[in-house]
């Protein structure tokens, strides 16, 4: 187990270097000038621009810049935000709590409601409940996150006045409910459908017949045998999905006015603020890789046949 984790961590290194390299290249090699953008519509001061370039190392060769950036990352230095001259780690640290709360809430909704709906639909496959759940999830999948966000904001938020439509305090879990629901909708639908098809497939498996034959109650057979076996593809999806959730947060945070990572990366993108964008993306990549490892370790918990030497 320990050796497996160590090997996987080693394998992450080239993947991390490769992904950040691509993002870094895309951000810096493509047109767009963050220093020029500081002046906006006004006429820039060329001497000051040159001095800033020199200071931030933007005159070095692009590969040298990447190398310096990578060395910095190893020491936990994600670079400096050009506009404010603050450390990117500090900027991310300020924005992270709101996004983290939003993501955790959305993720819990996805897991609980998604798997729940999938289980109910799968066990009643072909009946009315199943058709209804399939229909609703299809609807959720076909509506992009911004449409769902606006719908939630308009109806339960403004028209019926059930919940506050705009987040005023991102530490208030009640305020975060609507954006979390909007963020969760798509993945929730996928998880429900995935769980359903997995349950339908495994429902008639030999081990279920054995479980029934040896006299287990239906609840126990479903909970211990069926659900556990059916969750493997769902867990895979959930792992991949966590990274996507952070991307989806860009839209949700914009609509509901949450000052988190999504807002940060969106404004940084528009200002060509390379250090912040690459910093946030590197952070998301790390989250993604670590979650992928955790998912692989979870397989062994769900399926005892899988052993990691």
């Amino acid at each position: 187990m320990g050796r497996y984790v160590a090997r996987r961590l080693l394998q992450m290194i080239p993947v991390f270097i490769g992904s950040t390299f691509i993002i870094f290249m895309m951000m810096y090699a493509l047109p767009g000038d963050p220093i020029r953008a500081l002046w906006g519509e006004r006429a820039p001061d060329h001497a000051q621009m040159a001095a800033m370039r020199e200071e931030l190392g933007l005159n070095d060769h692009i590969l040298k810049q990447y190398w310096d950036y990578l060395l910095g990352l190893l020491q936990g230095d994600f670079g400096t935000q050009i506009r404010s001259r603050r450390e990117v780690t500090e900027v991310i640290g300020d924005a992270l709590p709101a996004t983290l709360r939003l993501t955790v809430m959305a993720f819990s909704i996805i897991v609980v409601v998604g798997i729940g709906l999938g289980l109910v639909a799968g066990l009643r496959a072909g009946r009315k409940t199943d058709t209804a759940i399939l229909f609703v999830t299809l609807l959720l999948i076909s509506l992009p996150v911004f449409v769902i966000g606006y719908l939630y904001q308009t109806y339960p938020g403004q028209q019926w006045g059930w919940i506050t439509p705009v987040v005023q305090d991102s530490e208030n879990w009640g305020d975060l409910l609507l954006p979390a629901l909007a963020l969760a909708s798509l993945s929730l639908a996928y998880v429900a459908r995935l769980t359903r098809s997995s349950i339908v497939e495994n429902r008639r498996a030999d081990y279920m017949r054995t479980a029934k034959a040896k006299g287990l109650t239906r609840t126990r057979a479903v909970r211990v045998h069926l659900l556990r076996n059916s969750l493997i593809p769902v867990v895979t999806f959930l792992g991949v999905n966590l990274g996507e959730l952070m991307t989806g947060a860009i839209v949700t945070e914009g609509i509901f006015n949450i000052h988190g990572i999504g807002r940060l990366v969106y404004s940084a993108l528009n200002e060509r603020e390379g250090a912040t964008v690459v910093g946030v993306v590197s952070f998301v990549i790390v989250v993604y890789l670590v979650v992928a490892l955790i998912v692989d370790l979870l397989y062994a918990v769900l399926d005892p046949r899988i052993r990691y030497a």
Binding site: P14, M26, M27, P31, L139, P144, V147, E244, T247, V281
Partner: protein
């Protein structure tokens, strides 16, 4: 004969019942392939026929928007039409779904916006299908260091969040046409197909008919194109069809964020973005384009689902 054998091999993977039928001897008449079986299944299913019809209509709308509306989507009459409410009984007329804050017909803009979504969705899928299949096939078939290398490359690209990566690429361009968006999405999106292809090629290359073809002296490319590709295609095509809906969503989200198509391009995502500010006073601005976008994505997803069910031998 090897052809008939290999095509039968896939449907029989399902259960013992079908194996028995095939082993009973040559079936009378021409052996039905997986694809013709699927087609016979599909054309009777409403979950296939209805989305297929909607998609056909959308394709016509994308190709000939002028057939559906007489006014230009850019024609703006602020004096008479500023945020005019929809006239829901005036079917297919410019005022049917109302006018936006620039006095442009929402109906006409919806019709003309179809092209961007459809062209981007289909082109990205086609590019991803060709490139992803090629990489996946090479990695899966040759194995060894080629697989090791290509799999690492796939891992690296999978590590990049799809939309965020596309945004980083696109924000660098000041004018973004359909092609900019297509290339950015394809650049980051091919890995899913490559993975599925690799997986199904690995399971296929050990099957009897590939071993048989090789022992008969068939060359690598012949084996790949005549034997491996046709049998590995089904799951890949299903994944691609479902991904198509996702690419249309991606384009809409990017345009919504202002990082997709730039003016003067007409895109549903961009129109929905501009509608967001008027959500309290004129929700119809948001409602109808969102509805059409939803229907489009839904149709492609349902089509993909129906094709998957028809091609999946386990469900027979």
């Amino acid at each position: 004969m090897p052809d008939a054998l290999e095509k039968e091999a896939v449907p029989t993977a399902g259960g013992p019942a079908t194996v028995a039928v095939v082993e009973a001897g040559p079936a009378p008449g021409r052996a039905r392939s997986l694809w013709s079986d699927a087609w016979r299944d599909l054309r009777r299913k409403p979950t296939f026929v209805i989305p297929a019809f909607v998609i056909a209509l959308l394709l016509v709308m994308a190709a000939f928007p002028g057939w559906f509306t007489s006014v230009s989507p850019r024609e703006a009459d602020l004096a008479n039409n500023f945020l005019r409410e929809p006239e829901l009984t005036h079917f297919f007329s410019p005022e049917w779904l109302g006018y936006n804050q620039q006095g442009q017909s929402i109906y006409a803009r919806m019709i003309y916006g179809t092209r961007a979504s459809i062209v981007i969705g289909i082109s990205v899928t086609a590019l991803v299908l060709v490139f992803g299949s090629l990489v996946g096939m090479l990695a899966g078939y040759f194995g060894g260091w080629i697989d090791g290398l290509l799999s690492r490359v796939i891992d690296i690209f999978l590590g990049i969040p799809f939309l965020l990566g596309a945004m980083v690429v696109l924000v660098s361009f000041d004018t973004r046409t359909e092609w900019t968006v297509i290339l950015a999405l394809a650049f980051l999106g091919w890995t899913t197909i490559a993975r599925v292809m690799r997986g199904s090629v690995i399971s296929i290359k050990q099957s009897d008919y590939v071993v048989a073809a090789r022992s008969l002296g068939a060359g690598t490319w012949r084996i790949l194109l005549r034997h491996v590709l046709p049998n590995a295609a089904a799951p890949v095509i299903v994944v691609a069809m479902i991904a198509l809906g996702g690419y249309i969503t991606a384009e809409a989200v990017l345009s919504f964020l202002g990082i997709g198509l730039t003016e003067p391009a007409i895109s549903w995502g961009g129109d929905i973005n501009r509608a967001g500010g008027q959500i309290r006073t004129a929700s119809f601005l948001l409602l109808y384009p969102s509805l059409l976008l939803g229907i489009t994505i839904l149709s492609f997803l349902m089509l993909g689902d129906a094709v998957r069910d028809a091609l999946d031998p386990k469900l027979r």
